[in-house]
């Protein structure tokens, strides 16, 4: 079998441009994790159901396991590594997860963090019902979601109190 054809792809990840050469079939999740070695993005099912691999593509939460790297060419991608504040402190959502014990094993957490970060941008003052709706497409096996719901509300609070 002949060697696969490679495609030039430019991904702007957490503000930094990366030029990679990948086969057409390479998943965006694998490209981020193994080519760029940003392993904070996790893969829990590879069929788009669990949400662990969620990244923000031009600000919108997307499942990186359901996208090909070539189809993300030229986009701006935010992964969990890019969520922290400029001074290195935890973002409101990250801080809220710590405050509320919103994570246990931490494997699903990056997908929740990216999803909630985008969600609070759209709806800065969610009700508890909104919070459930916001995280309704992400699976977690450890927490029973109780403290993740609290973390969404707490993150909204922190966001409003930060300058």
């Amino acid at each position: 079998m002949s060697t696969e054809e490679l495609f030039e792809v430019r991904l702007i990840v957490n503000g930094a441009a990366h030029d990679v050469r990948v086969p057409a079939r390479r998943l965006l999740s694998d490209c981020i994790r193994h080519d760029l070695r940003l392993t904070g993005t996790h893969v829990g099912c590879e069929h788009g159901v669990c949400g662990a691999c969620t990244v923000l593509i031009d600000g919108v939460p997307m499942r990186s396991c359901l996208m090909l790297a070539v189809s993300a060419d030229g986009t701006e991608i935010t992964t969990v590594e890019g969520l922290t504040e400029a001074d290195g402190s935890l973002s409101p959502v990250q801080q809220a997860f710590q405050d509320c014990h919103g994570l246990q094993c931490g494997f699903c957490t990056p997908g929740f963090l990216t999803t909630i970060t985008a969600g609070l941008r759209d709806n800065p003052a969610p009700t508890e019902g909104d919070a459930r709706e916001l995280i309704g497409g992400n699976l977690c096996r450890c927490t029973g979601y109780q403290n993740i719901v609290k973390a969404v509300l707490r993150a909204a609070e922190i966001r409003q109190n930060r300058p």
Binding site: M1, S2, T3, E4, P23, R25, R26, R33, H34, R37, L38, T39, G40, T41, H42, V43, G44, C45, E46, H47, V49, C50, A52, T79, V80, E81, L83, T84, L90, Q94, F97, Q98, D99, H101, L103, Q104, C105, G106, F107, C108, T109, P110, L113, R132, I135, G136, G137, N138, L139, C140, R141, C142, T143, G144, Y145, Q146, N147, I148, V149
Partner: protein, 793 residues
């Protein structure tokens, strides 16, 4: 200094994980070769031929292995980890199938290639010829034994085991009332968000193997790999990286992949990695739960049990590497907080052509609790008594502790409850859920055409099983404290709670303590994380190790400050003379002084060279002494400690669609003294969600041919936030255990255990239809209604 034990502090693990800086198995070894496995598509078949020709020209292919390539111990069946005298027909699989496959997903060929994509390309070009054989699927088919899973195992029975106390036949014969029930629970699985994975590097220069596995036991895996590859234990390091959840399934070891990957790494001289995908996790790891039970209960007019006779059938899948742990737990923990009168339990552990069974959080207890609690409800119904009254009358009383059931528990030790206060738990639960007010609410709801029901379930859980764990504590010259224990972590917050324990024992801030788990380089003797044992076993061992380190600190500091160690205290990392301000020495300095050095490599070391310290009339390190501030100790209890709890749930069932909605969920939980209440509550939340899953959603949908029909997250209904209770009301009771130095009991599994039983009780209460099989879906409830038409709801 605030006492840390008992404080709900935030976790020290979180910062790293929240930044995406965790290091899970597939985050390691970017340079490693990747594996893919050719797995059986048949539940039962003879393997006639494996043709790899088509795969050979796949770009990036490195190697293909089949059973023919295995030699020595690796060619033998994988170990039967936990033998038992009753396990007369134990069979385990080969690392790669030899002639016959016995479940869908059994590995047949291993492909190693430059990356996973290419490995899968090659794997799908390997052509295996099969002669399909009839599949045995489910307990009924296994019992019927018209077909056999293993030709040399008559009746598909791996084990038949009976335990009894008293003369159950006579007790039931003499009882004023007798009832019989048939009760069943379906298969489910741990289903952590991260599947299995293993990475191995062979160092040809030192002839040493280093491997990482997403495992619940690094020491167990090390021993297994050393045995299979013919290596000395000391030449194998097993490191547990961050693990994305376990819930039991990762205690199984060695998986075929866990011996094949290091073997291939050695053979190829290159690092090799295997990362399981989600479908593989469904069909090639392990499941649990499936059991059928028949109960005969004799009781008096007050509802007191006089005799209980339980016969059950356990489906352990195609092989039985983990032995009889699950059915033995069902046999013994079924008794819960009750005195059964005479008791007899007998089970068969049966082969089927489905995936193997190993413990999943709760491990046989959800089934046992379901059986006992359904029996309690049936007794209450028969006598027209309140369900809580019947339970109360059968409780072991606090003044009867310790209570000896006269049976043998899963650890081979006597089933003796150490402590507990069940009547008080029940009072708390009734208050929390509003038990006494519910009848009025139910009547009012019925008048509006709504169906609501309340249910409860009680359990006792043996936790902290032996044989032992160890702890190591060392104070560095910087004053920082490094702690190690051999068992592993999968998200439980061990680094936090163990640091809390050391903080109190040693008088240092939590921020100065670093805890490492599951790394054989740091601690070589350990058992593993299962049976809610980590806090009890390693927590106790670490406390003892910290006490040893503390004694050494006080001795050295006492000599330096010229006072008796009894006059010293340690606060915030400073050793000081009680009541004498200024008379103090830092823990770091004590560590420096404890280690007489030859060489001065920094300022601290300069203070400790042999020319700077010491009594020249004594040897630099006294005969009964060692250099450094270190403590190492082990904890090995006589037997398990028994946690307990009770759950109550209020449900509403839709009169038309049979949809089941949770209105209220309450938990009363007694795990002895709480190290960190926030972490315990987190464990309960997660357990309850798995309990809801096991009651209402999750099952392994095998068809008659042994194909798993729902082997994906699209079809296996793992709860999202929309399926769990809006709120879980929790009340704690703290009955300390007398069996360990901290008075603690395990908390990891508790939340899941009574779920199915509590929901069955509540749905039965809402519907007026006996619920005898779980999980139950709306369509099944709808069908039950149809079949029992005419039964008043």
């Amino acid at each position: 200094m605030t006492k840390m034990f008992g404080e709900p502090i935030a976790r020290v693990e979180d910062d790293r994980l929240l930044r995406g800086h965790g290091a899970y198995l597939d985050d390691l070894g970017h340079d490693a070769l990747a594996c893919a496995f050719v797995r059986s598509p048949h539940a039962h078949a003879e393997v006639l031929d494996i043709d790899v020709t088509g795969a050979l020209d796949v770009d990036g292919l490195v190697a293909i292995y089949t059973y023919e390539d295995l030699a020595g111990p690796l060619a033998d069946p994988l170990p039967l980890l936990i033998p038992h005298p009753a396990l007369t027909h134990g069979r385990t699989q080969y690392a790669l199938a030899r002639d016959v496959v016995r479940h869908v997903g059994e590995p047949i060929a291993m492909v190693v290639a430059r990356d996973r994509y290419l490995a899968e390309d090659a794997a799908e070009r390997i052509v295996v010829s099969y002669r399909p054989l009839p599949a045995v699927v489910g307990v009924e088919a296994a019992r019927a034994a018209e077909q056999l899973v293993h030709p040399d195992v008559p009746g598909n029975v791996a084990a038949n085991m009976t335990q009894s106390v008293g003369d159950v036949a006579a007790a039931i014969a003499a009882a004023p009332h007798v009832l019989e029930l048939d009760l069943s629970i379906e298969r489910s699985a741990s289903t952590p968000m991260e599947g299995r994975g293993v990475l191995a590097r062979w160092d040809p220069e030192s002839h040493r193997l280093r491997m990482w596995s997403s495992t619940q036991t690094s020491t167990g895996l090390r021993a297994a790999v050393a045995a299979k590859l013919g290596l000395a234990l000391i030449d194998v390091d097993v490191i547990t990286p961050d693990v994305g959840g376990g819930f039991g399934v990762k205690i199984m070891h060695p998986w075929p992949e866990e011996v094949l990957v290091p073997w291939a790494a050695r053979a190829l001289g290159q690092p090799v990695k295997f990362v399981e995908d989600r479908r593989e996790h469904f069909i090639a790891s392990a499941h649990e739960r499936a059991q059928l039970h028949h109960v005969r209960a004799g009781f008096d007019d007050d509802g007191r049990l006089l005799g209980l006779d339980v016969r059950f059938w356990h489906d352990h899948g195609a092989y039985i590497p983990y032995g009889l742990i699950v059915p033995i737990i069902t046999s013994t923990q079924l008794l819960g907080p009750y005195k059964p009168g005479a008791y007899r339990v007998e089970f068969d552990s049966l082969y089927t052509n489905t995936l193997i069974v190993t413990p999943y959080r709760g491990a046989g207890r959800p089934q046992g609790v379901f059986v006992m609690e359904r029996t309690m409800d049936a007794i209450a119904a028969e006598l027209g008594l309140d369900r809580t009254v019947v339970r109360e009358r059968n409780f072991i009383r606090p003044d009867e502790m310790p209570y000896d059931h006269g049976l043998i528990f899963q650890d081979g030790r006597a089933l003796i409850y150490d402590s507990g206060d069940y009547p008080q738990s029940l009072q708390k639960l009734k208050a929390l859920v509003g038990w006494d007010e519910f009848a009025a609410y139910r009547d009012a709801a019925r008048a509006e055409g709504r169906r609501v029901g309340i249910g409860l379930a009680c359990y006792v859980e043996g936790t902290g099983v032996g044989p032992y764990e160890g702890g190591h504590v060392v104070v560095e010259p910087s004053g920082k404290v490094k702690v190690a224990t051999g068992l592993t972590s999968q998200g439980q917050g061990h680094q936090t709670v163990f640091a809390q324990i050391v903080a109190d024992e040693l008088g240092v801030p939590v921020a100065d303590i670093e805890v490492v788990t599951g790394d054989t380089r740091r601690f070589g003797y350990a058992v593993g994380t299962f049976a809610s044992r980590a806090a009890v076993m390693s927590g106790s061992a670490i406390a003892l190790a910290a006490r040893a380190a503390r004694a050494k600190v006080l001795k050295v500091a006492g000599e330096a400050l010229e006072v008796s160690p009894d006059d010293l205290e340690i606060v915030d990392g400073i050793v000081r003379v009680s009541g004498v301000p200024g008379a103090e020495i830092s823990l770091g300095t004590v560590a420096v002084l404890s280690n007489p050095l030859r060489y001065a490599f920094d300022d601290a070391a300069q203070a400790a060279t042999q020319f700077a310290v010491g009594d020249t009339s004594r040897p630099p390190v006294d005969e009964d002494d060692e250099p450094g501030i270190e403590g190492r100790d082990y904890f090995s209890p006589m037997r398990s400690t028994f946690a307990s709890g009770m759950h109550a749930v209020i449900v509403e069932t839709d009169p038309d669609t049979a949809e089941i909605t949770i209105l209220k969920y309450c938990v009363v939980h007694d795990c002895g003294r709480l190290i960190n209440p926030r972490i315990v509550e987190g464990q309960i939340h997660g357990g309850v969600a798995q309990g809801v899953a096991g009651a209402l959603y999750e099952r392994m949908a095998y068809d008659d041919a042994g194909q798993l029909q729902n082997a994906s997250f699209m079809d296996f209904l793992m709860p999202y936030v929309s399926e769990v209770p809006l709120k879980i009301d929790i009340d704690h009771l703290e009955t300390p255990s007398p069996l360990n130095p901290l008075g603690i009991k395990g908390a990891g599994e508790a939340g899941v255990i009574p779920g199915a039983a509590a929901f069955a009780s509540a749905i039965e209460d809402a519907e007026g239809i006996p619920i005898t099989a779980m999980p139950i879906s709306p369509s099944e409830l709808f069908e039950l209604r149809r079949r029992t038409e005419g039964t008043p709801a």
